[in-house]
């Protein structure tokens, strides 16, 4: 299952970043596929990106909501929120574990040999604060003299945007380097901070700062496809605690909002108590008993 997950992660990486003509055009993809929502965090100003980032699109729509109402268009973000909700209702944060390019990037960074550390559990709530303030409230209500808001999370925080779009665009269009200022330095510092943190701890951005993960986490109790615990089989041995990349104690909280359904816990559960299922119907169970040679 772990190998399958790696293949799916790679597939989604190339599906959402499938425009490889950018070294020739020196610009981003501008085709019709950009009407499709990227399930994971993937900046649409990335030269290779073929889809739109739901967090970026949502902020853009909220920032321009007054202008759209004044012009009689009433763009409220229903399409983007609806698409995100459909994805959340089906698989929730399984997207973080299986389809997010920035999640994959952090997983690869964490493979670099180094001392490994945990993450203070209370930091998980920071991503909900970022979702509410930087993605929703500030773009809606912090407006300029023209009645237009700003994309606060993208502009001041998003390390995925700096990695996937900021740095590549500076390389593709060197003339843009004349525009560099404190804003880029701030965003570059945040990116470097999260890169170093991802080497030392597992998926720090997903666990503490991703507003898209925070949105999908709201579906943890009602999503269609989810990892479930068979309480009758579980012996509370704690084997699932050590392997979870998100720091979840699955036997204690099987509906945990942090669970990304990566199935690392299912792999080590010798009791076969952890299954991937469609609302009660098990579809995958991956622990295999070691083969014993007959004496």
């Amino acid at each position: 299952m772990d190998l399958l997950r790696k293949w799916v992660q790679g597939l989604f990486f190339f599906m959402t970043n499938g425009y490889w003509n950018f070294p020739v055009t020196r610009s981003i993809y501008k085709g019709p596929l950009k009407v499709v929502c990227s399930p994971g965090l993937n900046c649409y100003s990335c030269p290779a990106s073929t889809t739109y980032c739901p967090i970026g699109a949502l902020q853009q729509l909220f920032a321009g909501i007054r202008i759209s109402i004044e012009t009689g268009q009433f763009f409220m973000g229903f399409y983007v929120i609806g698409t995100m909700g459909i994805l959340g209702g089906f698989v929730g944060r399984m997207i973080c574990g299986w389809a997010c390019p920035f999640g994959l990037f952090q997983e690869l960074l964490h493979k670099i040999p180094s001392p490994k550390f945990g993450i203070w559990p209370l930091l998980r709530y920071m991503k909900y604060i970022l979702l509410v303030f930087m993605v929703i409230l500030l773009p809606l209500f912090a407006i300029d003299e023209f009645g237009s808001g700003s994309t606060w999370f993208c502009k001041y925080f998003c390390p995925a945007g700096t990695l996937e779009a900021g740095i590549p665009m500076l390389l593709l269009q060197p003339a843009l380097q004349a525009n560099l200022g404190w804003l880029f330095l701030l965003k570059l510092s945040i990116l470097i901070f999260f890169i170093i943190w991802a080497v030392l701890a597992s998926r720090p951005f997903c666990r503490t700062a991703c507003p898209l993960g925070a949105f999908y986490a709201l579906f943890s109790k009602v999503k269609l496809i989810k990892v479930s615990l068979d309480h009758k089989k579980c012996t509370h041995c704690g084997a699932c605690h050590d392997v979870c990349p998100m720091g979840v104690h699955f036997n204690e909280s099987p509906d945990d909002m942090e669970c990304i359904s990566c199935l690392s816990c299912s792999k080590v559960c010798k009791q076969n108590a952890i299954n991937l299922g469609i609302r009660g119907l098990s579809i995958a169970n991956q622990y295999k008993k070691p083969k014993v040679k007959p004496i």
Partner: protein, 66 residues
């Protein structure tokens, strides 16, 4: 061995056939339908074209340049 199309989870297999479907909760379907309706409203308002228009332009200030 479980019946074809059914779970391999022992607890579910031990249940009477008529009770197995009750494990499937309705909440996810309601949530998905609600958001589907929301997305359809957005499509009716023409939001996809706005999302496409935004996504095909490089927002320099959004990526920390300018």
């Amino acid at each position: 061995m479980g019946q074809p199309g059914f779970s391999t989870n022992d607890n579910e297999l031990n249940q009477p056939v008529k009770n197995r479907g009750k494990n499937i909760k309705m909440a996810p379907f309601i949530v998905i339908i609600l958001f589907l309706i929301l997305a359809m409203i957005g499509i009716g308002l023409g939001e996809p074209s706005q999302a496409l228009n935004q996504a095909t332009q490089i927002c320099l200030s959004c990526i920390g340049i300018g």
